[in-house]
Symmetry: C2
Subunit: 365 residues, 2 copies
């Protein structure tokens, strides 16, 4: 296989920003949207970064996403808000809604915001890392286009519905949880498909609802399985998490929930039924100072993280990590060495460059 | 095998209440504690109900739990509180802290309470069902005595750390999520052990950290595995959930976190290090009216639940359920037919009856 080309994250950021601006997204919002995308690329969440720019481009070019959305609070209390995202980019609506949650945490101790009429918001970890800068424990969730079968179900009904939350350390780096509620990310199935490899049993079912190790069978009408995969693995638990995320993000806000979440690209089929507006997100913000002295808390996080890393490893397994460790290591590496992009993504970006007239940056070295 | 004896839940409730009262727990608190225990028995969460009475009895009799705790708020904001449970029964401290969260939801839109210096609080679903009666979306979590290995780890470092959340329907029953963050409950390993059966691969490791299908090997120095079980199953996600629960319940509140959570029975070894007070819980309460019209929300929950139940089933699998369905069916059955108790539990209760002088109720029929 051809090795991945490496690009400077700053070059990719500028490219994304200029593409968004080309579509009428105001400069500051275009900067914001590019920052969310590059966050994913730097942290190794490759499926949620610039690899999605072509999809955003298509949605903006076809008028399916509003480049200048009116984002408004439609109901609120001291510690909560329901936000209508005006069908803007999730990469812009998400950060705005997250800021509302952070502002409420400052005044009421915590802030909880459900968002409707929005679109895909990138990697969930972006939002919780923003919160950390304010000494706030941040939460983020989103529903998304259907890909996952309910436990015991044979068809796609729920999105990969991620949950993120982060806790700051004092001397140690933060603990950052960011996990989809299905067993394996769709991106991993795509990688296996590109390489012509089988996927492990427990990741997916085929269109008939039978277990499959064929990535093609999953992509062509099959479905991903919820975390836990089957009866013995407690797939009902991953399913329950996906349900929780869908309710908090979409049912509560008045967005399209479950199988009715609109598609992410202009190529995908639009669901026959609409049960709300756009997709939905959910953000939480808990001021640490509202619960304890922040320094005391952070020192305990240090101790907790070190204790977990000190766990004796299983034979043949690597060291025990703390959630967020792999992504932080990826970020340290990629900030210096560049962001690797597979050939298919580079071709996608080239087609965006051609359509918009924004010059594609050159790869490094 | 001998069939399980059936007991009226009202008889078991009175028995538990009287045992708690025998130990100096005030009458109202004893009623409360018994109600939490019987909730678990009615809903089929057998490991968290009267099966634990002997353990509570032992802790009270030995003075390790305070029957008349001073429960106090040590820090608070409009929407948050940190509570010290005074080393009381979790079955009493938990409901008191949950009421604080509910009161804050009434005044600030939401309430979030972390609790230290408490003990095991029964089934997490009790608290979120209490919230539903107030048109509140309730959350509950707790850390617990170590039983689960971190992903790739060979030793017990975390509790089974459950997460519960519930959403009310209008015509449909509520959606109730209540899940431990490990693949299989310890109770299931115990059942396999009693029956001399193997457990599925992916549930547990032995003392050396190798996969095992022997329930004895898990019980005797092994560990449960986090939801997802292994690298291919994304065991790092179940581990991340367990970490989240431990931080919100114990690190945030100043309780003993991770491997230092104190034991549940007087027989278990006390950890060599103390890093806080007691164990910890976490409760959340979100007023539905703070986000949307409650009736509109409940109608959407009806639609969502019906849509999920309408999912085509996988070949050879039962119908697709909604989280909470199995427990609700168990409760409807057991309210009428009685609560089945295995012989070992009946013997435990008989020993409590003998030690306290409270008469053990007779089985039904």
């Amino acid at each position: 296989m051809k090795p991945d080309a490496l690009f400077a994250h700053t070059d990719l950021h500028a490219f994304c920003r200029d593409v968004f601006e080309h579509h009428g997204v105001p400069r500051a919002d275009a900067e914001q949207a590019a920052a969310v995308l590059l966050h994913a690329d730097l942290r190794g969440v490759d499926s949620h970064g610039v690899a999605r720019l072509l999809a955003y481009h298509g949605m903006l070019a076809s008028g399916r996403i509003d480049p200048r959305p009116r984002i408004e609070i439609v109901r609120e209390s001291a510690s909560t808000a329901t936000v209508d995202g005006g069908n803007g980019l999730g990469l812009v609506v998400g950060p705005a809604a997250n800021r509302i949650a952070l502002a409420k945490a400052r005044t009421a101790g915590s802030g909880w915001v459900t968002v409707r009429n929005t679109n895909h918001f990138g990697a969930a970890s972006y939002y919780v890392l923003e919160a950390l800068a304010h000494d706030v424990i941040g939460w983020s969730m989103t529903n998304s286009t259907k890909l996952v079968a309910p436990h015991r179900g044979a068809e796609r009904m729920l999105g990969t519905n991620p949950i993120a939350i982060a806790f700051p350390g004092h001397e140690e780096p933060p603990i950052v949880v960011d996990m989809a509620s299905c067993t394996a990310a769709y991106g991993k199935v795509e990688i296996a498909r590109r390489r012509g490899r089988a996927i492990p049993r427990g990741w997916a079912i085929d269109a008939a609802g039978n277990d499959t190790t064929s990535p093609d069978a999953m992509v062509e009408g099959g479905a991903l399985l919820p975390l836990g995969s089957d009866d013995e693995g407690s797939g009902h638990k991953g399913y329950a998490l996906a349900v929780m995320v869908d309710v908090l993000s979409a049912v509560l806000s008045g967005a399209n929930w479950g199988p009715f979440a609109p598609p992410f690209t202009i190529q995908q089929e639009v669901p026959k039924r609409s049960v709300g507006r756009g997709i939905g997100h959910f953000f939480g913000a808990m001021s640490i100072a509202a619960f304890d002295d922040p320094l005391e808390f952070k020192r305990r996080i240090d101790d907790f993280a070190r204790t977990l890393r000190g766990t004796r490893s299983r034979p043949g397994h690597g060291p025990v990590l703390v959630p967020g460790d792999p992504e932080r290591e990826a970020e340290a590496r990629r900030r210096v060495a560049g962001v690797p992009l597979v050939d298919a993504v580079v071709r996608d970006l080239a087609s965006v460059a051609e359509a918009t007239g924004v010059a594609l940056p050159a790869p490094l070295g």
